[in-house]
Amino acid sequence: MAALETSKETILRYAFGNVLSFFILVLIGVLAFSIRLFSVIKYESVIHEFDPYFNYRVTQYLTKNGIYDFWNWFDDRTWYPLGRVIGGTVYPGLTLTAGTIWWLLSSLNIPLSVETVCVFTAPIFSAFASWATYLLTKEVKGAGAGLTAAALLAMVPSYISRSVAGSYDNEAVAIFALIFTFYLYIKTLNTGSLFYATLNAISYFYMVCSWGGYTFIINLIPMHVLLCIVTGRYSSRLYIAYAPLVVLGTLLASLVPVVGFNAVMTSEHFASFLVFIIIHVVALVYYIKGILSPKMFKVAVTFVVSIGLVVCGAALAVLIALVASSPTKGWSGRSLSLLDPTYASKYIPIIASVSEHQPPTWPSYFMDINVLAFLVPAGIIACFLPLSDASSFVILYIVTSVYFSGVMVRLMLVLAPAACIMSGIALSAAFDVFTRSIKFQLPGATENFERDAGETSSNSVVAQNDVAKTEKNEDAVKERPSKKNRKKEKENVEKPSVKSQIKKKLLILPLEASIIAIFLLVLLGAFYVVHCVWAAAEAYSAPSIVLTSHSHDGLHVFDDFREAYAWLSHNTEVDDKVASWWDYGYQTTAMANRTVIVDNNTWNNTHIATVGTAMSSPEKAAWEIFNSLDVKYVLVVFGGLVGYPSDDINKFLWMVRIGGGVFPHIKEPDYLRDGQYRIDSQATPTMLNCLMYKLSYYRFVETDGKAFDRVRRTEIGKKYFKLTHFEEVFTTHHWMVRIYKLKPLKNRIRGRAKKSKSKASSTTSTKRIGMKKKNPWH
């Protein structure tokens, strides 16, 4: 009777826990979505920054022309005159996702603009990502850890920075794909089901479609497989989790046009093939071990090992020969800069010039993952108690991602899910210990377990944890477990038993300590929430296309970029070419619909170097370069008037470096005075005569009479000068964007004779000068 009651009670408890965790997940999804809406509420529903504008433009094209035209799209408005094969050079995952959402909605008669869909794609997918985190962590350490990790991920600032509403970039969907692929891998590893393995390959395919970061997956999983093999954890489940992924995944990956043969040709993928060979050798060894007697096996081992070594050696030699034959040793520049952090700054200025490719500073860790940084070590310890295949994977994940995030700020994004999972595990384990200590010390605690469970969410987490564990055990029992795993599962099975109850009793902490510790943990969580909300609201929601500043007389809005692009689209011919530094290329094509010379897709270094050279050359040489590229307008961004620091003058040294990398007559020291970059009266003549200086500071002295640059905090070196080959056609309200037109060649060429000084001509000439002076100076 009593047994019946308890089983009924457990069923009720499971049901209650499931419903509760379902609602918690829904709420986490709502949280993940809504915390990313600050940008829409505080600013407006716009696409942010640079790359998202390109993605938006591509999505528009997709929704208008269909998928085949998108695949074969040759864009003649960028990279003039080279053009760009968009279909073959873009990761189509994000575009196709947003396009599908738009298509679905419109076929349901929900008329949304493409822009709206694009703006909200990232928040939607961050909700998916937190659910995927729940699944992954649940596979590793149970549902309680899963829910905690999902809640943490929903609001981790690092991820928010890349997925606020309007930040329509690859990472928005890629992080979800990354976590989900890992989940399916772990799921396959835990179940050994070929079904999940296939799903895993498909999820990997989606990741390949979405982001170049897929190489992280295809290196991390082989690393984990190798780890499992080395630590003697080889099992058929491991084989099923890995082999289909490599075969199907590589086949699928090579279907993505931008990856194509890279999937088998570049070094980033070689690790997976090597491990693929190794796992087969190991599988063969295990198989032979099974059918041979121990004595025969010893003989066979020596035989197979020697043969295997020879084969591996041969394969390795071929690989090395292949790799050595390519100039970059088969590695792309970005991957090389991952392995050797100083590589990019030494050899590829174009990679080093992007701020998100720089190594992060220490404060950025506190900014981006906040308290998770303290919880991660605890999580790692928790993962070792006990160490399973799944938890070893998570440990490997956090270790590698910490390394990569230390190389490149941008990869902080990969670290964030790992940190969330680890912290989720740590928090959940801590709550587990503390609530259990309280429970066993409270009088009548065992009877009132149910009530305890419902009382606080943390308690329910513990309850869930148990539920999940037992569920998992039931699942696991159905499988034919390997020797190593059976040990683990035995432990699990024993847990709810009386034996483990006794064991648990031994781990009890004092009641007061537990209560205080729980209180402190809740406080820590509260700090995290406050920080995340602050980061989402203040730090990461600015669209960077519209800027605001608060001063004593209220809020100032700087909408100069859109003003300039609108001017271009209304006042220039459709086929006119606009030259600017590559940062503004995507925005110019998307917002002004004008052809640009270079844009944010940096595939042709020479072309960018040409523009960099033009910007660092004197006016006449620059005019000739631009004229040879059929440029009509030159656009520069200038922050000196309002103090906008990321303007072209601050980026100028990169133009010099990138230009000088291809055209050696541009030398960086010519622009530096004693190694210092300055634009005041101490600046070098080369600097003061280059096009960028002239276009930025032309007529600047008229604003305040002193020409004080508020970004560089100095008066500029050369205040009064005229432009001979360019003319100013538009300057925005706050002078942030200035547009110049190339003057046509002179109709006549003047003779050498000096102007005569007789009365008649001097009066006419002064008249002319007077007239001319009026024009440029208003």
Binding site: Y68, P81, L82, G83, V85, G751, S761, K767
Partner: protein, 435 residues
């Protein structure tokens, strides 16, 4: 009364009537002639008559007439300007240096005749056009070997020059037999200036100096560097004739006979009339003015112009080029017109063949490079207006379904793949059911 409606109808056409060289209405063109002295009108009447007989309406004004002006209400009143006023140092009315330069820069033609003692204003105009007169105001071109033999052995400033530029476009197809008489100031051109041309240059023994005074310093301008008559074709195809002598346009020079010193042949009549008349035809666009119309390109075998080509497409390009003959557009016939298929550098450069009726055409294959190309015709020949056509056309790579489906060279691989699959199937069947 019936005149008023006619006038109203004409109002919309006023801009066309008054623009520069306009193919639509070229028959009557107005030219303003500014003179120092109205006596020039009769002393140079032969030259003016020849212009008038070709349909030009000449408007003679004194250079300091306070009522003259080149434009009214933003419209130019004249299509050409002749400055036969070398000593004027200030024009009347609204005309000044800037007005004249604007007149040229808006595509109108100009003839300037200077003289020794030319005013600074005239020099300044010439300098702006790239012609530098000798800075010494009293200097004249002197030549002691190829002067014109005359009754009085003078100071050898009357020069008989036959060093013409060799160009049928500029000087007409009829050969100029006799030398041209010249008396006046010399000028030099900058060799870097590609727009100006020496039409009549002095002989190697000439120099520029004041004939009245003794030569103390070596003259600044010597030899064949001295240009006597030069032309300029501006980038907007405005044409300018600059001569260092006003008297060479006069009836007296037109009619006088000439014998070059050192030669025995005595020509009955100098070539001044022929030379200057032919040049004026060039200046006023009666010769050497080309237009290119009807640029067409399409795929071989199709008629419509595509918005984009694919790599390795075969295409046909054609353009029609006509030359203005003074009355009508005549087909221009030449064998050196080239088209470029250009993206930063020419990928295809082909001569166009012509059907002698003005149509130029060629066919070629689009190179195996994608990008934004241009059809470029850059036709710049001596004396002709420069033709510079460019038409942008993108070239795309193959679509995904335009590649070959089965490549013969890959049949071993297809075979390998399918035999592998079959082998695996058989192996599975045998392995599973053969126990």
């Amino acid at each position: 009364m019936p005149k008023l409606p006619l006038f109203l109808i004409l109002i919309p056409f006023l801009p066309f009537l008054c623009t520069s060289f306009s193919p639509e209405n070229p028959s009557s063109r107005r030219v303003l002639v500014l003179l120092d002295d109205l006596a020039l009108k009769s002393s140079h009447s032969v030259y003016f008559k020849s212009l008038q007989s070709r349909g030009f309406e000449l408007d003679f004004k004194l250079a300091d007439d306070p009522k003259i002006g080149l434009q009214r209400y933003g419209q130019y009143l004249y299509d050409g300007l002749i400055l036969f006023c070398p000593t004027t140092d200030r024009f009347g009315g609204s005309i000044d240096l800037a007005a004249i330069l604007d007149f040229v820069d808006s595509g109108h033609d100009l003839i300037i005749a200077a003289d020794n003692n030319a005013s600074d204003l005239i020099r300044e105009i010439a300098t702006e056009c790239g012609v530098d007169f000798d800075e010494d105001p009293a200097a004249m071109v002197i030549d002691h070997t190829s002067y014109a033999v005359s009754e009085t052995e003078g100071d050898h400033t009357l020069i008989a020059s036959d060093d013409f530029i060799k160009s049928n476009v500029l000087l007409g197809s009829e050969k100029i037999e006799a030398p041209v008489l010249f008396q006046g100031i010399g000028h030099s051109l900058s060799p870097a200036n590609s727009l100006v041309l020496k039409v009549l240059s002095a002989s190697p023994s000439a120099y520029s100096a004041n004939p009245k005074s003794k030569l103390s310093n070596p003259p600044s301008l010597t030899g064949s560097a001295i240009s006597l008559v030069s032309i300029l074709q501006a980038r907007n195809n405005a044409r300018i004739l600059i001569s260092g002598s006003l008297v060479m346009f006069s009836n007296r020079f037109f009619r006088s006979g000439v014998q070059k010193a050192g030669t025995l042949t005595k020509h009955e009549k100098s070539s001044n009339e022929q030379f200057l008349t032919e040049l004026s035809k060039w200046v006023f666009h009666e010769r050497g003015h080309l237009k290119a119309v009807n640029v067409q390109h399409h795929k071989d075998g199709e008629a419509d112009e595509p918005s984009m080509y694919r790599i390795n497409d075969d295409l046909v390009y054609s353009v029609e080029i006509y030359e203005w003959s003074g009355r009508s557009w005549e087909p221009y016939v030449a064998d050196d017109v080239q088209v470029q298929f250009y993206m930063m550098s020419p990928y295809v450069l082909k001569n166009l063949s012509t059907d002698k009726k003005g149509r130029y055409f060629t066919a070629f294959k689009v190179p195996d490079v994608y990008g934004v190309f241009q059809f470029k015709v850059e036709y710049q020949r001596l004396g002709y207006t420069s033709l510079s056509l460019s038409k942008q056309i993108p070239v795309r790579p193959y679509r995904h379904n335009e590649y070959e489906r089965f490549i013969p060279a890959a049949y071993p691989y297809y075979g390998a793949a399918f035999s592998m699959m079959a082998g695996f199937f058989i192996f599975t069947a045998v392995h599973l059911y053969n126990k």
